[in-house]
């Protein structure tokens, strides 16, 4: 890792150079009450005060809807064509958070488990992630309880930390990050003395450990906790759509007469149709069984099968839930109880 100091006021000049040099730059942009990652054309569009966007950054490599291939029917024949990978632009994800960057590791684990998903891989490989360490947090944040933290650099190519009113620490983790630094090298001063990064970071208390949650939930399949926690769940799927690690998808057809596209679309385990057989039989017939799947998938099945956890503690699901289901509270209750 290489460390530099830059003047905070020079960040915009650097971002301007990045926008000029890279085909696509995504950054938090506010519109009304929502802040989302949008393609930007100038540094002024960025909401630098944004703590987290409503939807996570996963769409940068796993769009809500994307084309798997196109088909053209001609008489009895069918021709299939794939999108050229040239259509996936080199992308810089700007002003993401540690919890966004961490989310790509579980996504990659799912998409590259055994069969390699070359569409995801190509988009992910073309992504450079610049995170801003969090100087603040809110009541939904619990990254420190699932192995992350406001200044965690896992998954980031570059992390910026505002040290004081004038100076920003730049940590460069990867070659991709180094390339962005090289776009305007003069503004980066090598670090002359150690700085206390921890001191400026948000203080987010550790409430539990992910290993502890795994141990509890792995033995709680038949526990009444799922019914209790999900009693007010509407099954709207918002938690899955905003989540940085939820990768479940549907495959759908976009048909226009004799031609069309096969699409991959975000899906959610909270939907009743998600697992329903054609016969009408549903192996997860109630919201309680679907909530159990959500928690067990993230905290038991994924660590056991893929070696990664499906949660970065970003708190987006809790912020997005229309009936105020708070994942952190649910996990604390799981960690503190015996569900045998």
């Amino acid at each position: 890792m290489e460390k530099y100091i830059i003047k905070t006021e020079q960040i915009d000049a650097w971002l301007k150079r990045i926008i000029e040099s890279v085909p696509r730059v995504l950054a938090p942009v506010s519109s009304g009450t929502k802040t989302e990652f949008r393609r930007i054309k100038s540094p002024e569009e960025v909401n630098n005060k944004s703590l987290t966007t409503t939807v996570s950054a996963k769409a940068a490599a796993f769009p809500p809807v994307e084309t798997l291939f196109k088909y053209q029917k001609d008489g009895k024949d069918t021709t299939l064509t794939e999108d050229s990978f040239d259509k996936y632009p080199e992308t810089v994800l700007w002003h993401a958070r540690s919890c966004d960057a961490m989310g790509f590791s579980p996504l990659s684990a799912i998409f590259d488990w055994d069969y390699k998903d070359n569409i995801y891989d190509e988009r992910r490989n073309k992504l450079t992630i610049v995170t801003f360490a969090c100087n603040q947090s809110d009541e939904c944040c619990f990254c420190t309880s699932v192995g992350g933290g406001p200044g965690n650099v896992e998954g980031s190519d570059i992390q910026l930390t505002m040290l004081n009113a004038t100076d920003t620490l730049v940590e460069v983790m990867t070659e991709k990050g180094q390339k962005l630094v090289a776009l305007l090298p003069d503004i980066f001063q090598p670090l002359s003395e150690e700085v206390d990064k921890e001191a400026v970071l948000a203080k987010i208390p550790v409430q539990f450990t992910k290993e502890e949650i795994k141990e509890h939930v792995s033995n709680a399949f038949d526990s009444p906790v799922w019914k209790r926690q999900s009693a007010r769940c509407l099954g709207c799927g918002a938690c899955a759509f905003v989540c940085p690690t939820c990768a479940c998808f549907d495959i759908q057809e976009d048909a226009h007469g004799n031609h069309g596209r096969r699409l991959r679309c975000w899906d959610a385990c909270g939907f009743s149709l998600f697992t329903q057989h054609t016969s009408g039989y549903n192996p997860r017939p109630t919201q309680a069984t679907r909530w159990r799947q959500r928690i067990l998938h993230k905290f038991s099945y994924m660590p056991e099968r893929l070696g990664v956890y499906g949660c970065t503690g970003c708190g987006r699901c809790s912020r997005a839930c229309p009936v105020d289901m708070n994942l952190q509270e649910h996990l604390i209750s799981i960690a503190n109880s015996n569900h045998e």
């Binding site: 029917k73 024949d77 069918t78 299939l80 799912i110 399949f221 998808f249 549907d250 495959i251």
Partner: protein, 278 residues
């Protein structure tokens, strides 16, 4: 660079057989002969079948890997994709992705007796194994097939049933649910588990392969147990809703086990350890 795992092979529908009301078998050939030559699968594998414009559905490969010139699938038209497939005619093209999933451990069964128990539309997942075993007939002991459907009309693979019935080296017992028989029905009348019980299968050196609706499986296992079958000698193939077939779309898992990757073939020993959500 890896290939696009969602891109299907283009298949030509070589032959359509109407098996029962609403049930058809498609015999498919690879449009690209090279792809066809490179294609290999094992009994028990499943695949994703596309009706372009409608989508993809998951069925087992119903033909045996010992019959290499084609792949067959049998489906009942019920939803959007199967209705789309149902409208296709011989000579038209459709999509095929696979083979996916695990397979029946046929190699381990050599020298043993095999008991097949199937209900309704669940004969297709078993036909690949039956044909595979019959194509290597001298390597196995006694072969018994117990197959039932709601009514005589609902029995699928009537040609094969007639053929198996003719063979002296296969014991075939067919049955229909009470009320489903016709005046000239020569088979049994009764539910599969009861008929199986009356057949009194010998469990010595025998593997049982069970496939059918959940209710049939539920009542068949105790009958097998009663006749001395051990859990490690009982196999079934699970179905669950799937989209990708390759462990990513996130819906076919039973607890931590993925039907598309760890299955669809499971032994009763494995089923006993699995989360009760199938």
């Amino acid at each position: 660079m890896n290939e696009n795992i969602y891109l299907p092979h283009i298949m030509v529908i070589d032959k359509i057989t109407v098996e029962a009301p609403g049930v058809k078998t498609f015999r498919l050939k690879f449009q690209n002969e090279e792809e066809g030559k490179a294609f290999q699968f094992r009994a028990g594998n499943f695949a994703e079948y596309s009706a372009f414009g409608e989508g993809e559905s998951t069925f087992c490969i119903a033909s045996a890997p010992t019959r290499k010139e084609y792949v067959e699938c049998t489906f009942r038209h019920a939803g959007r994709v199967t209705s789309g497939l149902n409208r296709l005619e011989e000579g038209q093209t459709m999509g095929f992705r696979g083979p996916f999933g695990n397979s029946f451990p046929i190699e381990e069964w050599k020298g043993k007796n095999i008991l097949f128990v199937a209900g309704g539309i669940a004969l297709p997942p078993m036909r690949c194994v039956i044909d595979n075993v019959l194509d290597l007939r001298d390597q196995f002991g006694d072969v018994t097939i117990v197959y039932g459907a709601k009514s005589v009309a609902d029995l699928v693979y009537k040609e094969e049933l007639a053929e198996w019935n003719q063979r002296s080296d296969v014991k075939l017992v067919t049955t229909v649910d009470p009320g489903g028989e016709t005046p000239d029905w020569k088979g049994e009348v009764g539910f599969v588990p009861n008929v199986l019980d009356s057949v009194a299968p010998n469990s010595d050196n025998t593997v049982a392969v069970v496939c059918g609706p959940p209710i049939m499986i539920k009542f068949t296992f105790p009958v097998l147990e009663k006749h001395g079958f051990k859990d490690e000698n009982i196999y079934t193939t699970l179905e669950n809703r799937m989209k990708c077939g390759v462990g990513k779309c996130g819906r076919c898992n039973v607890g931590k086990m993925y039907v598309c990757k760890d299955g669809p073939v499971f032994s009763k020993v494995q089923l006993n350890d699995m989360a009760p959500e199938f």
